[in-house]
Chain length 596, copies 2
C-alpha cells in the first residue's frame, strides 16, 4: 500500500522518479533522442539503465523491426520499378488500350448509363499492372520468409538481451511457480471450485460478449455504410446530365469513400480503446499483469478488426456479388451492388491500403502524438499562469516564486507515463499493414520504414522531454506481443495467398498463357477474359435509354460465362471452373510452400 | 577414459550395473512387467529410480500415448459400426449393385479383357462405403484435434515430471551455455572459421547426400517395382483362358503385391538402420548426444519414407495417370498403367494401410523382439555348454563351477542395452500410421491401442529380465522425438485433407447432391460419375477380341469427361473442373479449420 494509498486519498498529487538532467540532456540526447543519429543503432543498454527493462525491450524491438524493414523496402521499390519499366511490354494492358479492338462493354448502371469502350479505362489498366505483375508474387513469397526471419531474429536478440540484462532468473521463478501450481492442481482436482468461479463470472462474460458483438457489428456496418454511400452516390451522380461530371464521378466517389473509411477507422479506434479499458475493468483481473494482458488482447482484437475491415472488404468481397448483366444483385430495392473497376480489384485494394496506411500514420503521428500533447501543455501553462496571477494578487507565496524551479516542479508539469502498450499497438497494426496485404502493395514496407525511422526519434524525444520518468519495470520479454506477431505472420500467409489468387489476375493470366493461348503468348487475353451478353436479354428498364454507340447487339462484361448462343447461356463456363481450380491450387501451393 | 579405455583394450569383457533382484523380482514384476496389471498406470517413479530418467521418460511417454489412444479407438470403432449399419441405405453402392441399371464398363486390359457389368463389383462397393462415408470426415477432423491435444498433454506431463524429478536445473545449464555461446559468437564473427569447417566436411556431406539419394531411389524403385509386378501379373494372368482364374486374378495380384510391399518395407528398414549408423559415424559428431540426434534424424527420415512410400503411392498416385479408354498410358511398351478398383482408391488404400500396419507390428513384435532374442539366447547357452564341456575336460575350474552363479554371471549372459531409440522409432512410425492416413482407416487407433497395451508389458519384461541393467542416463525431455511428433501431426493435417478430397469420393458425392442432383438426393450419382466411350474409337488391337456381352456401342469409365457426341469429345467436362475446384476448396477449408 504505502505511497499508493496516500495518492489514492489525495494526500499527494503524484509520485514519480525524477528525470536526471545530467543524463537526459547529454548522453541520451546526443546518442538517441536526436534526428542527427538516425543512421546509428540505439544505445539500448543506456535506455534500459535509465528507463528500465520494459521500455528498453520496446526500443530494442522497434530497432530490430526497423532495421529488418530495410531489405523488403529495397526489394519492394525494385519490384515497383520493375513494374514501371515493363509496363509498356505488357500485353493485357496494351490490348485494353487498343482502340482497334473496339470492345463495347455493358453499362455500369441501369437506364442512365451508356455502353462504353474498354479503351477508356486504359490508364487504370496501366496503373494496375504496376502492382499486379509476376514480380509481386515473388515478393509476397519473400515477405513470408522475411516474417519468419524477423521473428527468429528477434527471438535471438531477446535471448541475448535477457542474458546481458540478467533476466533469466526472473523467468525461472515464474516457470517454477507455474509448474508447481499445475502439478498441485492436477492432484487436487479443483474442478468443482472452477465451476463455481465460472458461475460467478457469468454475467461479466455475458456483458463482454454482448459488447464485443456490438462492436463487431458497428465495424461491419461502418464498412457496409461506406459501401452503401458509394453505391448511392454513384447512381445519383450518374443521373447528372453534365458529361464532365459523369466522367469524374467514379474517381470522386472512390476518393471520398476512402477518406470516409479512414475517418471512421480513426474515430472508432479511439472509441474502442476506451471500451476495451472499460470491459477489462469489468472483469476485475487480480494482478496488474493480468489486466494488461487482457486489455492488450481485447484492444488488439477490436482495433485490428477496425483497421483491416475496409481493406478485407475491398480485397475479398467488393464486386464478388454484383451478379451479371441481365441478372444484377440489388440492395435496398434498386441500387446495384458495386463492382470493381474493370482492370480488377487489385488496384482499388492498393489505393485503399496505401491511403489508410499513410493517412493513419500521418494523422496519428502528427495529431495524436505531437499536436494534442502540445495543446495539453499549452492549456496547462495557461492554467498555471492564471494560478500565478491569482497567487500574485494574494501576494502570499512571493518568496517561493523567486526560488529557481526545482526538478520535481519541472517534471510535475510533464505528462504522466501511460505504458508502452499504445506504442506497441501502433507498431503491430503497422506490421499488419506491411505483412497482411503486401501482395497488393509492395511499397508498404518502404513507407513503414520511413515512418519508423522518424517514429523512433519522435518516441525518444517524447520519453526524454515530454513525459515524466516512468518507474522502471522489469520484464523478461515482450510478452503477448510476440504471440500476436506470430499470429499475424501466420495469418498473412493465408491472406497473401488469397490476394494473389483471387484479387489479382495472376492466375487467370497464367492459365490463359499455358492452357488456352494458341501460341503461348498473352495475345488475346483481354478478349478471352470478357464474356458476351446479348443486349436483347436486358430486363425491361435496365437497358441504356439513350446511347452514343450505335448498332450494339452484344456487350461484354468481365466474367467467365457461357455466351448467349450456347445451350447453357450465362452459366459459368468450363474456363471459370478451371480458373477457380487453379486459383485454389495456387492457395494450397503457396501455403504449403510457406510452411516448410 | 578409465573403464572405457580398459574395455576398448579388451582387459575387461564388459562393464554394467547389476540388476537388483530384490526389486526386479518383487516390485517391478508385480507392478509393471506383468500382463495382470495391464489396466493400471505404470509405476513411473519406480522405473525412473531403477533405470534412470531416460528410460523413465520413454515409458511415461508410451503410457500417455497409449492412454490417449483410448478415445480415438472407441470413436473409430463407432465410425466403423456407423458404416456397417448405414451401408444398406447407401444410394451409390445400391446403384452399383443394381443389375437393372445395366451399365457396361470398358475393359480393364487391352484385347483379352472383355467388357464387364458394373454390378460385378457390388461387394467391393459395399466394403468401400464402410470406410468412405460422412462420419470418416468428422473422424479425421477429430483426429487432428486429438493430435494437438496429445502433444499438449504430453508437454504438461513432461513439465510435471521434470519438476518432480528435478530436471529443471539440467535445462538451465544447457540454455545458459547456449546463450553464452550465441552471444559470444555474435561478437567474434567466427564466420571465416565456419567456412573452413564447411570445406573440411564437404566430402562427408557429399557422401551423405549420395547415400541418401541412393536410398530414396531404392525405396521408390521398390514401390515402383511392386507396381510393375502388379501390372505385369495382371496382364499375364488375364490371358489365362480359365474363367475362374480370371475372376480371382485381381484379388490375388493385390494381395501378393501388398505382401511384397510389406516384406520390402521390413527388409529395407533393417538395412536403412545399418546405413544410418554408418553414415552418422562418417560425420564424426563430437559428443554422444550429437551422434544420437543425427542418427535418430537420419534413420527416422529413411525408415518413415520406407514405411509410408507404398501407402502414399496408393493414396495419391495409383490410377491417376492411367489415361482414358482409347488413350491409355503405357509403360514399358505395352503394359497399361494400373487403375484403382472401380469403387475408388480408398478401399485399396485402406487394405494396404491395415495390412502394412498390422503385418509390421505382428512381425516386428513377434520375430524381432521375441524370436530373435530367444534364438540369440539359445545360441549363447549352447556356446556356454560347449565351453563348460571343454572346461570339464580340462577339469581345471571345477571348484568355481560348483559355486552358485553370481549376479554378475547371470547378467553377463543377458543382452546388452542398446538405447531407447529403436523403441521410440517403432512407436513414432506407428503414430505416423495412426495419424497420417486415419481418414482412410478409422480402425487404426484401435489396432495401435491393442498393440501398445501389449507392447508396454513386453518391453517391461524385456527390460527387467532379458537385458542387462542400463546405465542411468539423465535427460531433461524426450528431445528430438517431440519435434518429430509435431512434424508428423502437422503433416497429417495435409495428408488427411488430400485423402478425403482426392482419394475418397466424399467431395464428388457432395457436389452431385447439392449442385447436379435434380431432387437433392444421391439418386443417379453412379450414372453421373461415369463417362461415355464410343467403342468404335478404340485404337486397332485394343478393343476386346471376343465378348460375351453383345451389342455394345458405348462403354462407360470412371471419369468426368465430355461424351463422344459433344464437340470436345473426351476432354475434361465442366463437372470435372467444378469437382476439382470443390476438392481444392475442401483442402483449404480443412487446413484452415485445423490451424485455428
Amino acid at each position: 500500500k504505502g505511497i499508493n494509498s496516500l495518492l489514492a486519498r489525495g494526500v499527494y498529487d503524484s509520485a514519480f522518479p525524477l528525470h536526471d538532467v545530467s543524463i537526459t540532456e547529454t548522453l541520451l540526447h546526443e546518442e538517441w533522442a536526436n534526428y542527427g543519429v538516425m543512421h546509428k543503432y540505439q544505445p539500448v543498454d543506456l535506455i534500459r539503465k535509465y528507463f528500465g527493462e520494459q521500455i528498453g525491450l520496446y526500443f530494442a524491438w522497434l530497432g530490430v523491426y526497423t532495421q529488418l524493414l530495410i531489405p523488403p523496402s529495397v526489394l519492394g521499390i525494385i519490384v515497383f520499378l520493375y513494374g514501371i519499366f515493363t509496363a509498356d511490354a505488357n500485353v493485357p494492358s496494351q490490348e485494353t488500350c487498343d482502340d482497334n479492338l473496339n470492345i463495347t462493354m455493358c453499362p455500369l448502371c441501369d437506364g442512365v448509363c451508356d455502353y462504353w469502350r474498354l479503351s477508356t479505362v486504359c490508364s487504370l489498366a496501366r496503373a494496375s499492372y504496376l502492382f499486379d505483375n509476376g514480380a509481386t508474387v515473388l515478393f509476397a513469397i519473400f515477405m513470408s520468409l522475411w516474417a519468419a526471419c524477423f521473428l527468429e531474429h528477434w527471438k535471438r536478440r531477446q535471448m541475448c538481451l535477457k542474458h546481458t540484462w540478467d533476466l533469466t532468473s526472473l523467468e525461472d521463478e515464474e516457470v517454477e511457480k507455474y509448474i508447481q501450481g499445475y502439478c498441485m492442481r492436477e492432484r487436487k482436482e479443483s474442478r468443482l471450485q472452477e465451476f463455481t468461479d465460472i458461475k460467478a463470472t457469468f454475467h461479466v462474460v455475458a456483458t463482454r460478449a454482448v459488447c464485443v458483438c456490438v462492436q463487431i457489428f458497428v465495424t461491419f456496418s461502418a464498412v457496409f455504410g461506406v459501401a452503401v454511400y458509394r453505391i448511392c452516390m454513384l447512381s445519383v451522380w450518374s443521373m447528372n446530365p453534365d458529361p464532365e461530371a459523369k466522367d469524374s464521378v467514379r474517381m470522386t466517389v472512390t476518393t471520398t469513400g476512402i477518406i470516409l473509411n479512414m475517418l471512421v477507422v480513426l474515430v472508432l479506434e479511439e472509441v474502442y480503446g476506451a471500451i476495451a479499458v472499460w470491459l477489462t475493468e469489468l472483469e476485475l483481473p487480480k494482478t496488474k499483469e493480468e489486466f494488461e494482458e487482457r486489455l492488450i488482447f481485447k484492444s488488439f482484437f477490436l482495433k485490428s478488426m477496425n483497421a483491416f475491415a475496409p481493406i478485407f472488404y475491398v480485397a475479398f468481397f467488393k464486386g464478388r456479388f454484383a451478379g451479371r448483366p441481365g441478372d444484377y444483385v440489388y440492395v435496398f430495392g434498386d441500387y446495384r451492388m458495386e463492382e470493381c473497376a474493370p482492370p480488377g480489384c487489385l488496384i482499388e485494394l492498393c489505393i485503399q491500403l496505401s491511403m489508410i496506411m499513410l493517412g493513419k500514420q500521418l494523422i496519428q503521428n502528427n495529431v495524436f502524438e505531437v499536436l494534442i500533447p502540445k495543446l495539453k501543455k499549452m492549456y496547462r501553462t495557461i492554467q498555471e499562469e492564471k494560478g500565478k496571477k491569482r497567487a500574485a494578487e494574494n501576494s502570499e507565496v512571493k518568496e517561493e516564486e523567486k526560488r529557481p524551479k526545482q526538478q520535481f516542479d519541472k517534471d510535475f508539469a510533464l505528462e504522466p507515463f501511460e505504458g508502452v502498450s499504445s506504442e506497441y499497438m501502433e507498431m503491430i497494426i503497422q506490421y499488419g499493414f506491411v505483412s497482411l496485404f503486401v501482395a497488393s502493395f509492395p511499397l508498404a514496407p518502404a513507407f513503414a520504414l520511413l515512418n519508423n525511422v522518424i517514429e523512433i526519434r519522435l518516441d525518444a524525444a517524447k520519453f526524454v522531454t515530454e513525459i515524466r520518468r516512468p518507474d522502471a519495470v522489469r520484464c523478461k520479454d515482450i510478452g503477448i506481443w510476440y504471440n500476436i506477431l506470430c499470429g499475424i505472420s501466420k495469418f498473412s500467409v493465408i491472406t497473401n495467398a488469397f490476394v494473389i489468387s483471387f484479387t489479382s489476375e495472376f492466375v487467370p493470366r497464367m492459365i490463359y498463357q499455358y492452357m488456352y493461348s494458341v501460341n503461348g503468348t498473352m495475345n488475346g487475353y483481354t478478349e478471352h477474359s470478357l464474356s458476351y451478353f446479348n443486349v436483347s436479354d436486358f430486363p425491361p428498364g435496365t437497358a441504356p435509354t439513350t446511347t452514343l454507340i450505335t448498332g450494339v447487339t452484344m456487350c461484354r462484361y468481365k466474367d467467365y460465362r457461357d455466351p448467349p448462343w450456347e445451350p447453357d447461356a450465362y452459366t459459368f463456363s468450363k474456363e471459370y471452373w478451371s480458373v477457380l481450380a487453379a486459383k485454389l491450387a495456387f492457395v494450397i501451393f503457396f501455403q504449403v510452400l510457406n510452411e516448410y
